[in-house]
Symmetry: D2
Subunit: 131 residues, 4 copies
């Protein structure tokens, strides 16, 4: 399945006193890429869709290779590697030019908004995830 | 009216590449103090109370004097200076020992959760704000 | 002086449990606009420039009118209203289409990186700020 | 090795429009626990220590089980499971009463501040990590 690429500029809000991007914030960059990937497939409200369902992150495994710095121009990527009935799995990276800064596997589950029980991903969304 | 004082430790998440606390984050420290001040007066759910009402920040005026740094042990203060029917005004500071780091005036309004229309602060909450 | 306009998409990271953009985060949107406004004038490293100088926010006065929500497409604006020897003042807003969501006056000061003493803004930067 | 436990209150800054704690923020809670665990062992400057060395997060694997909500009183835990020459590994959780909300394995590496090359953890720090 195709890789989605989102440009991300590093602002002072993203950095920490180590002089680098605060490692937690790469997860935000990756989520922006997941969201835009979904929007790109025609889903205008990617995170909280419909009245009853929402996506939640079920697990993340992330490796940090090299730091990004203030004013860097990065790219956050998103690619679905598995789309099941109630969840999907994405491989995501943050790169600077050809350099890999970090990579992650993110499992996102569809749940009901009230009870947060696992729920089937709507067919149209699932189809988009698989394309 | 009495001043409330909340200890706040500075973590790496609070800092930026300038090596100091990211200036936006003082507003978070101040909000924690407002919240705990309310909790201290017996309101367990200070931000979103009841099913229909919530507090929103209407305006902030903040002055920065000196920077805080990683691992600093700060105190965020909160003191009501005016409590009206639909809003209250607080004077807040962040200090390190006897040193003033920043000070702000924050106006907080009570609104309905759906339409976000101005609403009367419940009597018990208002009384707490005035004590 | 000309107004700079930066498109800003609202992601889940920007929101809070009130279902709206967390009010503190508008300051981040405004800072991105200030930064890009500077970059647009040829300053690639707007926040920490040179080895010895940096910009710090000296004071902010911000009014919140209407809330932004998840997935909104906003514009953050920045316009210099005063450029003095050691600081400048900007008028900034966040708008959604023609609707004003919040407006702020932000005073940004030039200081030395070590001692954080007031310092003259370099001539080229000041000229850019005034154009 | 002993488990360290840090109480963490959930504020509005920690939540998102899903009405729950934004999943990325559990990593902040866990980092606070790591930091206080270190401080508890006598290291006042846990993140950026000495002039030449700092700790960076090398990898994180995190599982989310149940959501935390606004005003919750949580506990973030930290326990070293492996302390090697240039890195250590921690098992961390966030719990609410007896309920596990999320758990993570975090690998933290010691690097030089300039080049960010792997470096030996100072003996006193390593000893603390092992106690």
């Amino acid at each position: 399945m195709a890789e989605y690429r989102l440009p991300v500029r590093v602002y002072i809000e993203d950095t920490d006193a180590g002089g680098i991007v605060y490692y937690v914030n790469y997860l935000k960059f990756m989520e922006r890429a997941r969201t835009e990937w979904f929007r790109d497939r025609g889903h205008e409200k990617p995170a909280l869709f419909g009245d009853d369902l929402m996506f939640v992150v079920h697990s993340v495994s992330i490796d940090y290779r090299r730091p990004a710095r203030l004013d860097d121009c990065l790219v956050a990527t998103a690619r679905v590697t598995r789309a099941a009935r109630t969840y999907f799995v994405m491989e995501q990276t943050v790169v600077r030019d050809d350099e890999l800064l970090c990579s992650a596997e993110v499992k996102v589950a569809c749940v009901t908004r009230g009870q947060m029980k696992p729920a089937a991903i709507p067919a149209a969304v699932l189809e988009a995830a698989r394309s």
